[in-house]
Assembly symmetry: C2
Homo-oligomer: 220 residues x 2
């Protein structure tokens, strides 16, 4: 039985190791968890005792099979709750992250499986991220960062990664959401920005930072 805090550390380690290779460092975790390195060391030892992470002093941590399994279940819960909040309660996609952070710690497999049923066993959450099934398997979707598209290529926005609320609100403002169709018109070498035309006809300049966070499924 893990505490919410232990669960949050597991999730943090999982997320960091998803986007960076090699083992996860103490400072890295401290930054994500908004806490101090010393506190992280304390917690790492506890997680190592429970065989949820492999740990060698000064060498960082990595999740064990068991740890990864638990982290995956947390992500399942988080994304199912986000789906509930958006699909059923009518929240906007930029309002649900914090709430799902709380809801994901409710401890009941029965609850989460019924919720999954109730939502129609969705494969992707409101941000386009895949929802692992009860056995922890993700549905993988063919997708590319917008920054990798060439002029003339067309596609549909299927996911937004590393989303903070401000980013999502910005996207909504400029007219981009999930399922938005777009076509790359030009790449501007001088600032790496990308000119795109949305399905609505609107033409936008997308800066390179943003273009890396937008995931596209090619449609031609």
């Amino acid at each position: 039985m893990l505490s919410s805090t232990e669960e949050n550390y597991l999730k943090a380690i999982y997320n960091i190791s998803e986007r960076e290779s090699g083992s996860v460092t103490t400072n890295n975790i401290a930054q994500v968890m908004q806490t101090k390195a010393a506190s992280v060391t304390d917690m790492i030892k506890k997680l190592a005792d429970k065989e949820l992470v492999d740990y060698a002093k000064y060498r960082g941590v990595s999740l064990t099979e068991k740890g990864r399994g638990l982290a995956t279940q947390l992500i399942r819960k988080h994304r199912l709750w986000e789906t509930f909040l958006v699909d059923k309660l009518g929240f906007d996609w930029d309002e649900v992250h914090e709430l799902a952070e709380e809801l994901e710690h409710i401890r009941s497999d029965e609850l989460i499986n019924r919720l999954d049923q109730f939502l129609g066993q969705p494969k992707f959450d409101p941000h386009g991220d895949p929802i692992p099934n009860a056995s922890g398997r993700f549905t993988i979707r063919q997708q590319t960062q917008l920054s990798d598209l060439k002029p003339g290529e067309k596609g549909e926005v299927v996911a937004v990664h590393h989303h903070d609320d401000a980013l999502l609100r910005h996207l909504a403002e400029i007219g981009i959401e999930l399922k938005t169709n777009l076509e790359v018109l030009e790449l501007h070498a001088y600032d790496q920005s990308i000119q795109v035309r949305l399905g609505t006809g609107k033409v936008l300049q997308i800066n390179p930072g943003l273009a890396q966070k937008l995931f596209i499924r090619r449609s031609n």
Copy 2:
């Protein structure tokens, strides 16, 4: 900002003072919270500092206006979540109490108001208990303990009080649920038991303890 623990104490005090008059004693709270009197004294002091209870040493506590308001909102959340679990996720009425105990601590007025909308602003939860509205007002329903009915009187089960899961399962087994119609046939003086006929025609002996927990709206 209260901790879940503080919230649980408030709720315990509220519940005790609902069913007993006068101020709530330390031992009483300890029993409900499954903890020791010394721990209760600690917490009472903290709640008194926050002006949620009035407290005089050795004299017990009572909720302040502020404390009662918070307790009422907790009850609102608890009962709305129970309604969600039963109406939307298909849980049985005897399975939802523990889960609602966790869910009620999720901190978001927006969430709970949207949930209320989503559920169709229900006035009563799956056990027949009234759900306070956002301002803390309960809908009061004319109801009587089954033990107060006279032979020949008829009515409908509208609530079950002080429900533990075992009690609810027992009721389900003998064929009683919310909205069950019944008629009192006879009172047996020798053991205070009550003979009733259900809407289904089934005739039962109800013992006096149970008859106090069943609330009936008279129908004739």
